[in-house]
């Protein structure tokens, strides 16, 4: 059967089981858009190619299947660079097809020519410039294989226009022949045994669970390991929901804005079991001061992660699920673990949890109010963003998928939501891409039309990609957006507050400009505005009832609110700054402040320095 390269491309996508492509056409990709008309594949026409990329990511996050995006050459390709990088940092499987100028024009600075493979080489797992139509099925097959195997990630297939127009004899390759692409083998049994022995001997262990656990679909295995060992577990920003937040051993999020118990448990641990986590600087704080007395077991599908930041005592280069299962069976085969061995450790952690939960001032005042002469002008009430999130959390159905932008609202979302299921949290962790929430929510809703999808967004973030709500309206993808509108680039404002002596430089946005309700309606959405605490629940209930179009709620929140706890960038996790209201708890002589229990002075912990004092104020 003779096909054009374009037909072969679409046919290949169908062969890969692609259900939906997010994209926007243009000159160089035109030939491929013709067979799209006759294909079973749904095409979602975005309003900006960045939207296509984040939608593909949102889709991939919640379905586990690769997200597919299609864009034209030059500006189409450069517009999708940000999502490709985002997917690279967060290991999201994305296949991006880009048009390219004809092979005969490559290198001539032709109209809309960009060196797409060159530009994306460093932010993809791999990319291909197809120079022969006959290569298309093979390359597409390889692209999906590379994107989804081992550590997932984005790939780019760049297709020149003359290649799309050329004809080829259709075939579908049996498999791939990539001699340099080798996913890891089975976990090394000696390493597994060594890991089991360390786990057995540990008295202050912590499971440090990262996004890799979700990527390897290892949540069941993880729960088994947690319950078998009774080890307290932290779930990083990328791993929220890997075990339910309601699980008694789940400590929640560690890191720069993680909760005190999670951060401190890692600092005092004698063993960290890192599962699909990569010792990101937002988790470790100052690396040389991170978990100083801990031995480390590091399981990762990417060998380069093992030892990149912290040299482990035991490294296991393998798929997380397989490795966790093997560790569980190694533990089972070597006798029962005495649950009482961790009693004093879990007791200590429970005291930290009780003393330093996430907290905010609920009475409508804020620390800066008095000093700044009352409420900021034009603010009829002090609606706390955390309160909005608590109400939203409790008013949404179980299994709701939450996406977030990047900034304070993202941290509060991770802190205050209760993630009970895996794949219910979609956010930009590694790259921290403002504008992620709206298109990611749309992609998630396309992948999981059965689920309620809420995006928690910042006013700054919303302005970066809001136009995709036009896509959502016209394609009838009913996502719901909660803008925590503080009128500021809030996270940057917080840093200027804390580290630049409140010299606010270029962070004010205005809560009123744009008019978010008017904008939402112009984009075919329902727009609602909430200014007072008592309006929060009714608005959310109303939004939950709307299922035929997107809803945007403009929550006018307290501009002064700050995210706590916080470990300042580059500081040791010992220097975690807690909420001002909790600083009382540590008043009195520093040595007697909670937490009181200090690690026993065994040889394993000798040399551990006493926890540094938390900063008073900032």
């Amino acid at each position: 059967m003779e096909l054009t390269g374009a037909q072969a491309l679409v046919r290949s996508l169908e062969m890969e089981g692609v259900e939906v492509v997010f994209g926007l056409p243009g000159g160089a990709i035109l030939p491929v858009y013709d067979p799209i008309i006759d294909s079973s594949i749904r095409h979602v026409l975005v309003r900006h190619e960045q939207g296509a990329g984040h939608m593909a990511e949102g889709y991939a996050h919640v379905t586990g299947k690769p997200g597919v995006a299609m864009v034209t050459s030059g500006p189409g390709a450069t517009n999708i660079v940000t999502p490709l990088c985002d997917a690279y940092m967060d290991s999201v499987p994305i296949v991006c097809v880009t048009g390219q100028v004809p092979t005969t024009a490559i290198g001539s600075d032709a109209f809309q020519e960009a060196d797409t493979t060159g530009i994306t080489a460093g932010i993809t797992k791999h990319n291909w410039l197809v120079t022969d139509a006959a290569d298309i099925p093979r390359v597409v097959r390889e692209a999906f294989e590379v994107a989804t195997t081992g550590r997932p990630g984005p790939v780019v297939v760049d297709v020149p226009k003359d290649v799309s127009n050329a004809t080829m004899e259709w075939y579908w390759p049996e498999g791939v022949d990539l001699p340099g692409f080798r996913p890891p083998g089975a976990p090394d049994s000696e390493a597994v045994a060594a890991a089991a022995a360390l786990i057995r001997a540990a008295r202050r262990p912590v499971l440090y669970v990262g996004g890799g656990v979700l990527k390897s679909r290892a949540c069941e295995a993880l729960l088994d390991l947690v319950e078998l060992t009774g080890i307290p577990t932290v779930t990083t920003l990328m791993a929220r929901g890997a075990i339910p937040d309601s699980h008694p051993l789940c400590l929640g999020m560690p890191g720069m804005h993680g909760n005190y118990a999670a951060v401190t448990a890692m600092q005092r641990a004698d063993l960290l079991i890192a599962l699909g986590s990569r010792f990101d600087d937002r988790v470790t704080g100052k690396v040389s001061a991170f978990a100083p007395s801990a031995k480390v077991i590091h399981v990762d599908v990417d060998k380069a992660e093992i030892g990149k930041v912290r040299r482990p005592e035991v490294g296991i280069h393998a798929d997380c699920r397989e490795a966790i299962e093997e560790i569980c069976s190694a533990l089972r085969s070597t006798g029962r673990l005495d649950p009482s061995r961790l009693e004093s450790w879990t007791g200590e952690i429970a005291r930290w949890q009780a003393t330093y939960p996430y907290t905010y001032e609920k009475d409508g005042t804020h620390a800066g109010a008095a000093r700044e002469g009352g409420r900021p002008a034009g603010r009829p009430s002090l609606l706390k963003p955390q309160f909005v999130l608590e109400v939203l959390r409790d008013a949404t159905p179980p299994g709701t998928i939450l996406t977030a932008g990047v900034g304070q609202h993202q941290m509060w979302a991770s802190q205050y939501w209760r993630f009970e299921r895996p794949y219910s949290w979609v956010n930009s962790g590694g790259l921290g891409t403002m504008g992620f929430a709206v298109p990611a929510a749309i992609g998630a809703k396309v992948g999981r039309p059965d689920a309620t999808v809420w995006a928690v967004d910042g006013d700054g973030c919303f302005q970066m990609t809001a136009q995709e709500l036009v896509t959502a309206s016209s394609e009838q993808i009913p996502v719901k957006i909660a803008i925590l509108n503080n009128g500021y680039l809030g996270m940057v404002r917080q840093w200027q507050h804390m580290f630049y002596e409140e010299r606010y430089s270029e962070v004010y946005l205005s809560p009123d400009l744009p008019d978010y309700v008017g904008w939402a309606e112009a984009m075919g959405c329902i727009g609602l505005r909430v200014e007072a605490p008592e309006e929060v629940l009714p608005a959310i209930e109303k939004a939950n009832e709307i299922d035929d179009r997107p809803v945007v709620i403009d929550f006018r929140t307290d501009a002064m609110e700050q995210v706590f706890p916080m470990v300042p960038a580059g500081a040791s996790n010992d220097d975690i700054v807690v909420h001002p209201a909790q600083r009382e708890a540590e008043a009195g002589p520093p040595k007697t402040r909670a937490p009181k229990t200090s690690p026993p002075k065994t040889s394993a912990t000798a040399g551990v320095k006493a926890p540094a004092r938390k900063r008073r104020g900032t």
Binding site: T117, A121, H126, L129, P179, G180, G185, A304, G307, H317
Partner: protein, 182 residues
């Protein structure tokens, strides 16, 4: 060019790659993005036209060798990486040098070239161009001696290497490999 003989911060990687467009640029950009330094690099096709071999001398002060190898190994077109320890490798390099030498100096230069087993490949009234192939250390020595004359231009290729054969033993090079542990 400074000598790299015996400097422990330099490691020799022999990298087998698929012979595809852009492979060298992927490797080069990986090194620059991760802040690793390449000291020298030589590329050529192997006897199998599907593959090329790249010999890289890495300055590992910039990053632990293991990390460099693991990151390189993730490149889809990189098929195999091995570290060649100097004691276990046969190394060679090629040097071309043009030396200003008038009639009085010419004889001395020609004599030195003979001692090192090089060849005069070009001659003029005032200069000579010499080609020398051999172990990098020997090239270093020769280069040093040539510095007492006036060097007009000098070019070295960077090292290439293969594992040393263990006479009588199994024909298997002892090398450290990246990739799966098994």
């Amino acid at each position: 060019m400074s000598s790299y003989v015996g400097q422990p911060r330099h490691h020799l990687l022999s990298v087998l790659v698929e012979n595809k467009a852009g492979v060298l640029s992927r490797i080069a950009s990986l090194f620059s993005r991760r802040g690793y330094n390449i000291f020298s690099l030589a590329v050529a096709p192997t006897d199998n036209e599907r593959f090329s071999r790249i010999t890289i001398v890495v300055d590992v002060e910039s990053a632990p060798l293991e990390q460099v190898m693991a990151q390189l190994d993730k490149l889809v077109n990189v098929v195999d990486i091995s570290e060649l320890h100097p004691a276990e490798a046969r190394e060679a390099e090629l040097l071309l040098v043009t030396v200003a030498a008038d009639a009085t100096e010419r004889a001395q230069v020609i004599q030195l070239v003979g001692v090192f087993g090089g060849r005069i490949v070009d001659v003029s009234l005032t200069a000579l161009t010499v080609m020398l192939a051999g172990a990098p250390e020997s090239l270093d020595d020769f280069e040093e001696l040539m510095r007492s004359y006036e060097i007009v231009e000098l070019q070295r290729t960077g090292r290439i290497a293969l594992p040393r054969l263990d006479a009588g033993a199994e024909r298997r090079p002892r090398v450290r490999r990246a990739g799966h542990s098994s």
